[in-house]
């Protein structure tokens, strides 16, 4: 699996040696990383959405299940939606066993993804620390750590002194606006380069024969007399498909409406922020249980921040100033030395929030149309797992064992996986 790039179109592997050689040859030997084909008239599988989940689905369809007559169709450009708009955090510190299994599969796949894709996805397991600011936060943290350890996810409680040692710039003084009572850490948590996830999956999927078709918007579905999907109408014409998968995050309700069904999803804007580059000041990911602020420092030196949702339905990929003020104010309070750091970018992604804050994986009411959505504010960390689940269901016609609790029918049976309460996800 390391060298599949050689099998298609004679593409060479990326390696340290190649970087060195191209350095000597004036960088003239690099080839296009993936093709830019026109759509064929028919594919075995069409995946709607060229973000992380869609590209990963196509990759695992080709690699794991041998289904290579696959197209990924994307309205904009690869990874231009939430894949390029998140805060790049990866972790699996969830409460319920079903979620722990799903997210930890994802984290394990992330750990091996660079080699699997032959692409440097810059996974950095720098630890994910959740900070408690009160006795009640500490009780929540202890409960979460107990549940995670029962789920087999290694986490441990930290004292204020341990947190101060790991994050010297965090205000842990007795008079801090957000006093630090303690917290917990998942050492395997950390960050990955989000663009590289999209590009790495795209290159590896393309090498296995997947057509990646950008600037191609789905405008409708074509169905046979029995109601089964036979293809999609797009801005580049009709594309026939044996099966269709959709992984379109915040736009899931829009695609579902084209197909003629509803989802238990509401779309919200989630903001993120990047500061000017500063010297290395933070070598872990910090999340504040009370304020919802999370922060890490990128390899370029920029501080990457996120916070809570803009709590009204939105498809506008921009945020509102009161949330901006809350997130940046929280940062200035908790990291006084960063109070005068300037910010260079702010943006929002449109996230698909579900009542129980768990994803929706599997079949839709439309035969032949499969779905991967509902990751809400946490889709990036789930990309390898979400792609594996959707590919498995499309290829075998059955849900993966790990995906079984996450079917759309749980909203009618009542068997919710309520991570909104369990993991204290901030919405």
């Amino acid at each position: 699996m390391y060298c599949h790039g050689r099998r298609h179109m004679g593409r060479l592997n990326y390696s340290g040696w190649r970087v060195f050689r191209e350095g000597l040859r004036g960088q003239k030997g690099w080839a296009q990383a993936w093709r830019n084909p026109e759509p064929k008239s028919h594919y075995d599988v069409v995946v709607i959405g060229g973000g992380g989940h869609g590209l990963a689905t196509a990759y695992y369809l080709a690699k794991t299940h041998g289904i290579r007559n696959v197209a990924v169709i994307e309205r904009g450009w690869l990874g231009g939606g939430n894949t390029g708009r998140n805060t790049t955090v990866i972790r699996s510190n969830y409460y319920y066993p079903a979620s722990a299994e799903l997210y930890d599969l994802s984290l394990r796949l992330y750990e091996g993804l660079g080699k699997d894709l032959n692409y440097n996805v810059m996974v950095s397991q720098r630890g994910m620390i959740n900070i408690a600011h009160s006795r009640h936060d500490m009780e929540v943290a202890a409960r979460a750590v107990g549940a995670m350890r029962l789920n087999g996810i290694e986490t441990k409680m930290l004292t204020p002194a341990e947190i101060q040692k790991r994050a010297p710039i965090l205000d842990c003084s007795p008079y801090a606006r957000f006093p630090v009572w303690g917290g917990y850490v998942q050492e395997r948590g950390g960050t990955a380069r989000h663009d590289a996830i999209a590009w790495g999956y795209a290159r590896a999927a393309d090498a296995l024969g997947v057509d990646i078709i950008q600037q191609c918007e789905v405008t409708g579905f074509r169905r046979d007399a029995g109601g089964r999907v036979t293809g999609v109408e797009t801005s580049k014409g009709f594309i026939g498909a044996g099966k269709v998968g959709m992984a379109v995050a915040g736009h899931s309700s829009v695609i579902a409406e084209l197909a003629g069904f509803r989802l238990p999803v509401t779309s919200y804007a989630l903001q993120a922020f990047v500061s000017e580059p500063v010297k290395p000041v933070l070598d872990t990911v910090l999340m504040s249980i009370s304020s919802g602020l999370y922060v890490s420092q990128s390899d370029k030196g920029g501080l990457v921040l996120g916070g809570g949702l803009d709590l009204f339905p939105s498809y506008a990929q921009r945020g509102n100033v009161q949330i901006t003020r809350g997130v940046l104010g929280g940062m200035a309070d908790q990291f006084p030395s960063l109070g005068r750091v300037r910010f260079v970018r702010q943006w929002a992604g449109i996230v698909d929030v579900v009542q129980d804050s768990s994803p929706i994986l599997g079949e839709t009411p439309i035969p032949g149309l499969y779905i991967n959505c509902g990751w809400g504010t946490g889709g990036f960390k789930a990309i390898p797992g979400g792609g594996t689940m959707l590919a498995h269901h499309i290829a075998t016609g059955r849900p993966h064992r790990i995906a079984e609790p996450f079917g759309l029918n749980r909203f009618n049976t009542g068997a919710l996986v309520d991570e909104a309460a369990g993991a204290g996800i901030a919405h």
Partner: protein, 94 residues
């Protein structure tokens, strides 16, 4: 940031308000006669349009009034503010 025209207080900034989600949802019933599917659809399934959305807002930091708003979810333009018990207004495409 939006300026929302509270029917009681007049135009105030969005900071004072909370969105209460989709409006005009009718509770099905009687409860013992409806299917799990109907009940699940009532509880969880929502209109989530990219365009005009009919939704409830609450003037939490003001007079406390609940009212309906017809708002575009892309531009955030507010087309209508109307009472909780009024039907959906017709919003023309422009």
């Amino acid at each position: 940031m939006m300026l929302i025209d509270c029917p009681w207080c007049g135009p105030r900034e969005q900071l004072e308000f909370r969105c209460g989600g989709e409006s005009h949802i009718q509770r099905p019933g009687p409860a013992e006669e409806i299917s799990d599917e109907t009940w699940g659809n009532y509880l969880f399934f929502r209109d989530n349009p990219k365009g005009v959305h009919f939704e409830r807002w609450h003037h939490l930091g003001g007079c406390g009034l609940w009212f309906n708003v017809a708002r575009d979810t892309v531009t955030h333009r507010i087309y209508a503010v109307y009472p909780m018990d009024a039907p959906k207004p017709a919003i023309g495409k422009d």
